[in-house]
Amino acid sequence: MPEPVIAVDHLSRSFGDKQALSDVSLAVTPGCVFGLVGENGAGKSTLIKHLLGLWRPQTGTVRLFGLDPVADPVAVLGRIGYLSEEPDLPGWMQVWELLRYTQAFYPKWDTTYAERLREQFGLDPNARIKTLSKGQRARLGLIAAEAHRPELLILDEPSSGLDPIVRRDILEAIIRTVTDQGRTVIFSSHLLDEVERVSDHLAMLHRGALRFCAPLDDIKARHRRIVLHFERPQQDPPNVSGAIRVAGTGREWTVICDAGKIHPAAMARHLGAAVVDDTTASLDEIFVAHASN
């Protein structure tokens, strides 16, 4: 088994009384697109800041390429491309200046590739960054993060608040990155359809704790959506042990559950209901079920 690009082991972090990360452990293997989902404040950005070495672990360890990003930032950061939701690019710089500045830090910077992307994105090289729209800034940030062909591309909610065309550009960048052999992407997003499109592994954080971390296909196969029909309207949600979420009103109730833990027919018999639908849960339903549980 190849050495993981990212190895997080029992990482915890609190800010005052708030537990931002609670005993998080995960490993990301080379060549995968690792989706990171969770509601606002779940700890996604905090985890990413630990990966970049911007936060020092309170407990636990973080290793990238087998190195500690806090103890050896130069060796780690040189192999990473990073794009955040609000890339804090200096507004006074011109587009060509930013690319020239960024290039200096990465020996593998591909000038031709950067120039091709700039032209493709329609960015004027002489435009000042402060005059660019949010979408244009995101594209520029993407070029700066990607043009040195990093071994690990970290995207922290890069498509938040952007129009579909910019989102498409970002997704294409992710696909380009994974087609280069051995390169890895960490992609944090609220937009589950995007995550579903490009990710092959998925982790969900909820209130700082890791709810699941597995290949996307496994996660989808494991979660079932069962619709139960009762003879009489139910005032309270039926008590389904092992369910992640039970929602509905009256006679119709929907159960999101782990397929390995519940047998639908036996459950329905036990509750005095009939199974009217039993399908694979969508990622959206899985997310909502875990987030509201």
Binding site: L52, G53, L54, W55, R56, Q58, V70, P73, V74, A75, V76, L77, G78, I80, Y82, S84, P87, D88, L89, P90, W92, M93, W96, E97, R100, Y101, Q103, A104, F105, Y106, T111, R128
Partner: protein, 551 residues
């Protein structure tokens, strides 16, 4: 609330009522102190107000300016900008601008009225002239805050320059000859300042009206000018040779030109006109020369505070992710900052020395300077080289002192702790005010008056030197040797220049001092060893690392 004006005034009061209460308390305390001191004074004693009274007055006026800091912060800019939310009110821009300006003027005049007796006791300036200067100061203050919002905290430095200029204008009528010529009379100068204040008010009004209409450009159009200069000096588009070169370019473009620009501004708007006005007075020319030479050092203090932060133009003390994720070590980043400070200092002094050369060779009155040069020449066995050597040493020591003020707070600023930064600013302001109020210039006289005062001073300086070198050894232990070697060379050059200048000045002063004062020579040497920061610069990378990888 019956009118928009009343509502706007109420908002100022509501927002700053604690500060207003502090101004009232300080004023009441100051007046009580003044009355007690005046009643206890012997007949025939000097009529000046006590240092404590003056200190309380200064604090009251400073706090009042804080009340009329009519801006709101939008997050990363601490001083903020004109409150944009007011633009939605059904009120004209003229009224939005006029209400705080007039309220500020009325308040400062009222405060001056309350302090009139202690502050005008020496009778050197007429109260109406001072009242005009104070009103103009409020207008210039608000004009700078509103019109130059992109300058961030540097607006306070700009206001400081304007305040110094107003202070100098206030002093002009008191200079010889008495009565002053018409050009330097209170009426003419008061009219001139009032005219400028009206122009500043109109400029502020126009700027706010434009911002309200969606045109957010600065009224002074400083940014396009700076951008044009940057474009003109941008150089080639070739790739940087090293990451450090790229980081140097980034730091220089962010903040490198600030000190040279401020020094140039100070020379242009204060030193040049004043030096022209006193061109016939050798004594005043000499004093203006000393003030001009001190300007880079004084200006480097506030610039150094801003420069010590991770981002010069932002109030946010965290290292921005844009910089933090660069594969560059904290030692590399600090080395770049130290180099930028050195280049900035060199440029500022180059501007100063060129100006001084042009001034002294054109309209400067050299009589006092010549007398000093002749005295030095005679003292050093008729050696012209010695005179030029001392002049070069003064410039060199001035440069190192400027650079020292520029970099000495890196260790606390890069740490990212607001308490440290605020503490640093408060300590400087306290020292300056205390120095002004308690007349620091009397300290040397007080020291040599009693030989018993020498010994503790030597001990304190000795302990400080030992502490400095011990801390330096600790701070530099993990630094790359190339930085240690380069910085040691810089430190040696700086310390050698201070040491040489200190010993030369000591040699000349020695003949005027009592025999016991010989022991002070060791204090001069110890102070020279303390002048150039060593431990503090060594600690800066650790501070940055701590801030960059937060716990």
């Amino acid at each position: 609330m019956t009118s928009p004006t009343a509502a706007l005034l109420w908002q100022i009061w509501r927002q700053h009522r604690e500060t207003v209460a502090a101004v009232i308390l300080l004023t009441a305390a100051g007046r009580v102190v003044d009355v007690l001191e005046t009643s206890g004074r012997e007949a025939g004693a000097p009529a000046d107000s006590s240092p404590l009274t003056v200190l309380l007055a200064m604090l009251a006026f400073l706090l009042l300016l804080g009340v009329f800091n009519y801006t709101e912060s939008s997050g990363d800019r601490g001083l903020g900008s004109f409150p944009r939310r007011l633009f939605t009110l059904p009120v004209t821009s003229l009224r939005l601008v006029t209400v705080p300006v007039l309220a500020g003027i009325a308040s400062i005049e009222l405060l001056y009225l309350l302090w009139l007796d202690p502050l005008s006791r020496d009778g050197s300036l007429s109260p109406p002239f001072v009242a005009v200067l104070l009103a103009a100061m409020v207008v210039f203050y608000l004009c700078i805050l509103w019109s130059l919002e992109r300058a961030g905290s540097l607006r306070l430095v700009m206001f400081g320059v304007i305040a110094v200029a107003l202070f100098v204008v206030g002093m002009l009528p008191t200079l010889a000859p008495t009565p002053p010529p018409r050009l330097r009379s209170e009426a003419v100068l008061g009219g001139l300042v009032a005219g400028l204040a009206v122009a500043a008010f109109l400029l502020s009004w126009r700027h706010i009206a434009r911002v309200r209409d969606g045109d957010d450009r600065s009224a002074f159009r400083v940014q396009p000018l700076l951008a044009w200069i940057a474009e003109a000096t941008a150089g080639s588009r070739r790739a940087f040779a090293t990451p450090a070169a790229a980081q140097f370019w980034f730091e220089w473009r962010s903040s490198g030109m600030v000190l040279p620009a401020l020094v140039g501004l100070q020379l242009l708007i204060v030193v040049m006109p004043v030096s022209w006005m006193v061109r016939h007075d050798a004594g005043q020319t000499f004093i203006i020369l000393l003030a001009a030479l001190a300007a880079p050092i004084v200006l480097a203090v506030p610039v150094g505070i801003a420069f010590a932060k991770p981002t010069f133009w932002s109030e946010d003390l965290a290292v921005p992710a844009f910089v933090a994720v660069r594969p560059l070590s904290s030692a590399d980043i600090v080395a770049v900052k130290v180099t930028v400070a050195a280049l900035s200092t060199l440029l500022a002094w180059l501007i100063l020395l060129v100006f001084v050369t042009v001034w002294l060779s054109s309209w400067g009155n050299l009589d006092s300077l010549s007398r000093l040069a002749v005295a030095l020449w005679a003292f050093h066995q008729h050696s012209t080289a010695a005179v030029y050597g001392i002049a070069a040493l003064v410039a060199l020591a001035g440069m190192f002192l400027t650079w020292r003020c520029h970099v000495s707070r890196l260790w606390s600023g890069l740490l990212g702790m607001r308490l440290m930064l605020v503490g640093s600013i408060v300590s400087i302001v306290t020292v300056v005010i205390a120095g002004l109020v308690f007349e620091i210039q009397q300290l040397p006289g007080w020291l040599v008056a009693d030989p018993a005062r020498y010994a503790p001073l030597s001990w304190i300086a000795g302990v400080a030197v030992i502490a400095k070198y011990w801390l330096a050894a600790y701070a530099w232990r993990g630094m790359p040797p190339r930085y240690l070697r380069a910085y040691l060379l810089m430190w040696l050059a700086g310390t050698a220049s201070f040491l040489a200048l200190g010993l030369v000045v000591w040699g000349m002063l020695r003949i005027y001092l009592p025999l016991d004062a010989d022991r002070l020579r060791s204090v001069v040497i110890l102070l020279a060893l303390l002048a150039v920061p060593l431990a503090r610069v060594g600690l800066a990378p650790s501070s940055l690392t701590w801030n960059r990888h937060r716990s």
